[in-house]
Subunit: 402 residues, 2 copies
């Protein structure tokens, strides 16, 4: 207890440090091979293009780009995002359905604050994105899980949970889901399951928050359309991000939703930060207008495909046969299920000592289950680090199994 | 009631649209003279310098400037802010005491969420900054006011309110205050009152959030040091912003506080948006390092002083003698107290119809009092607009008094 802790609000007392962020701090400036973060490969950043765009924007419209701007986003960017959404099959939307946020993290923060009350029934994948869970936890909902295995999400289980809640007179409220190149599992929901999820949402009057962070990074096979592209009722709230396709350092994400929901987010964001940085929005609008992002996508996909191949080959070689792992068709992560006797949180200290970091899977489970799982990132480490790091991890796992 | 409104959380239902923002929307694209906003004069934006800096940053460190960065802020910027704080007399702090936010609005949002529970006794100036009040209101505190007249804040009243709360077994929790070039009143607290506020804070064990948005924009007389410079206990949480001295479109603010409070803010911000945009932080760090901000300050002060002079002269000429107004020594606003029979909210429609916008003062009162007051901005409108707009307002007020 520090000098000022008695001043902290009751809401704040439940906050815990994110394991990912603490881990990143541990690896800062050290010669650790990090499979822990979710960082893009910096070679994918179009730095020169961004530099040229910034120069042009500041020459032609500095008085707007450096000034306060609208809470919902700069008009030029909202317009470009309407067009860009069509690349994911999302059509029939207008500028009013698009809202710009400080990364998709801010979208998650605002939406869960707006939509979730304590005791609400909320459905999430098990495992699912850690920082989404952290925000949801502050809202004190009742969680229900949809198990994700190396084969993908179990939509039957979602249906059973929905039935159970309804039977017990509960009202299902919200589903948070990452259908495409899921974080952390690396799996993708097939088209039939997507349709089924939407049917269930209608049947149980459920709002769906669809996190499409990796939708543009599917590098193998055909990517089914996002739920939002199949949504006829305005029931799906879609989240996109520039972090993986342009630059995370610009902190730009966006929401596509029914305009009633957009208006509510606008009211909320006035309190949070007034608006998303204007200059960054003009940069992104121009990067879309000039096709820089669109033209860069094949290069990013090809690079991540190579890195994934490299990682899967290394895992195949070095991990013992009792271990399972996902074969991601996109995104940045392989998820691995170790034999039950291994606790990956406990193993992390040994692993760090040998120079390899990863994220223990339990951080991605709303109930802190999955203690035998781990998330391994392949987008950031260099190829030689992938080979060496997986070899070290493989030896460690083999030792633990003896 | 819309299609999805039943899904909104109980917290959200209390949100109301900010009058300032709605007003700004009304004036968008119309030929209205706007005294309503709080926008800097765009001629103060060093657009060419920012362009050159961006080019340099993206050439030399794109892999950091476009990548994810630390939640508390980019190290280079925190270091520069330690030095910059010394210009306001704030010394003896380390990088750990500095935290970078998405404008100072995000600092207000996070701090009030961290520090205020429903029913807490919170002390604010009457009037005070509208969007700070909007955030505070979502926390449902018990408000207490310290009246601000054209002569400055009434610290005796603060003392009386503190006494009263203590006598009734209440625990005073937090004071939110803008001591320098106050928004909206335009007044500055003298040194003796500053010392007295700190004594009271110690005596009643009160945390102080000091909003120094206009601290670098005092253009007349000597500016007393901020409370933080006089604070020996770590009781003052200081907020700074780049919005008025570099560019609001970059959305950069900062907190200086005890490191225990900084750590709590860090946990909170991980949920809100992970971190403040990296590129923007590198730009600001470089703008400080190269002295661009410091060298630009005299020009900004001189411009705003001229505009203030112009506005005060216009008011002197056109407002009737029963009206009072502040004579700001800094900042961007004149605040005006009209005779009680005039309701400035009601008068706004007439005023807009004649082509002049302002903010009705009641928005700045926690209890929606001050219905006879108005805030008039002089930083954004051009000189000829100031003259014409004040003339129109003066005629309208005279009509209302007949």
């Amino acid at each position: 207890m520090g000098k000022w802790s008695s001043f902290f609000s009751t809401d704040t007392k439940s906050l815990k440090s994110s394991e990912i962020r603490d881990l990143l701090k541990l690896t800062e400036g050290k010669s650790v091979i990090s499979f822990a973060g979710g960082l893009p490969d910096p070679s994918t950043f179009p730095a020169e293009d961004i530099s040229r765009i910034t120069e042009d924007v500041l020459r032609s419209k500095a008085s707007s780009a450096l000034q306060y701007s609208a809470t919902a986003g700069v008009a030029e960017l909202r317009k470009e995002l309407v067009n860009f959404s069509a690349l994911r099959g999302i059509t029939g939307i207008r500028d009013d359905n698009v809202f710009v946020t400080v990364g998709s993290q801010e979208a998650l923060f605002m939406l869960f604050n707006i939509l979730v009350d304590p005791g609400d029934h909320v459905f999430v994948e098990r495992p699912t994105y850690l920082t989404a869970l952290n925000v949801l936890r502050t809202r004190k909902p009742i969680f229900h899980g949809m198990e994700v295995s190396e084969k993908g999400p179990n939509v039957l289980q979602l249906e059973e949970e929905l039935k159970k809640v309804s039977k017990e007179q509960g009202k299902p409220k919200l589903l948070y889901v990452i259908p495409t190149a899921q974080n952390p599992a690396g799996t993708t929901m097939n088209l039939d399951d997507r349709k089924r999820v939407l049917e269930l949402a209608t049947q149980y009057d459920l709002l769906v928050v669809e996190d499409d962070a990796y939708g543009f990074l599917v590098f193998e096979g055909e990517s089914p359309p996002p739920l939002k592209a199949l949504d006829k009722e305005g029931r799906v709230i879609y989240l996109g991000t520039f972090s993986k396709i342009l630059s995370p350092g610009l902190r730009l994400g966006w929401i596509v939703a029914d305009d009633e929901i957009i208006k509510e987010v606008e009211l909320f964001k006035q309190n949070v930060d007034l608006h998303t940085p204007s200059l960054n929005q003009y940069i992104a609008a121009e990067a879309l207008k000039r096709g820089i992002i669109q033209n860069n996508l094949p290069k990013i996909r090809s690079l991540y495909r190579q890195k994934r191949d490299y990682m899967l080959a290394s895992i195949e070689t070095h991990f013992p046969s009792q271990v399972k792992w996902s074969k991601p068709v996109g995104g940045m992560f392989v998820f691995s299920w170790l034999p039950d006797k291994i606790d990956t949180t406990k193993m992390l200290e040994d692993s760090m000592r040998r120079g390899v970091a990863y994220v223990p899977g339990s951080s991605f489970y709303y109930d802190y289950g999955g203690r035998n799982t781990m998330r391994i990132n392949y987008s950031f480490p260099r190829k030689e680090e992938i080979e060496r790091g997986i070899q070290i991890l493989g030896s460690l796992i083999k030792e633990k199994l003896q």
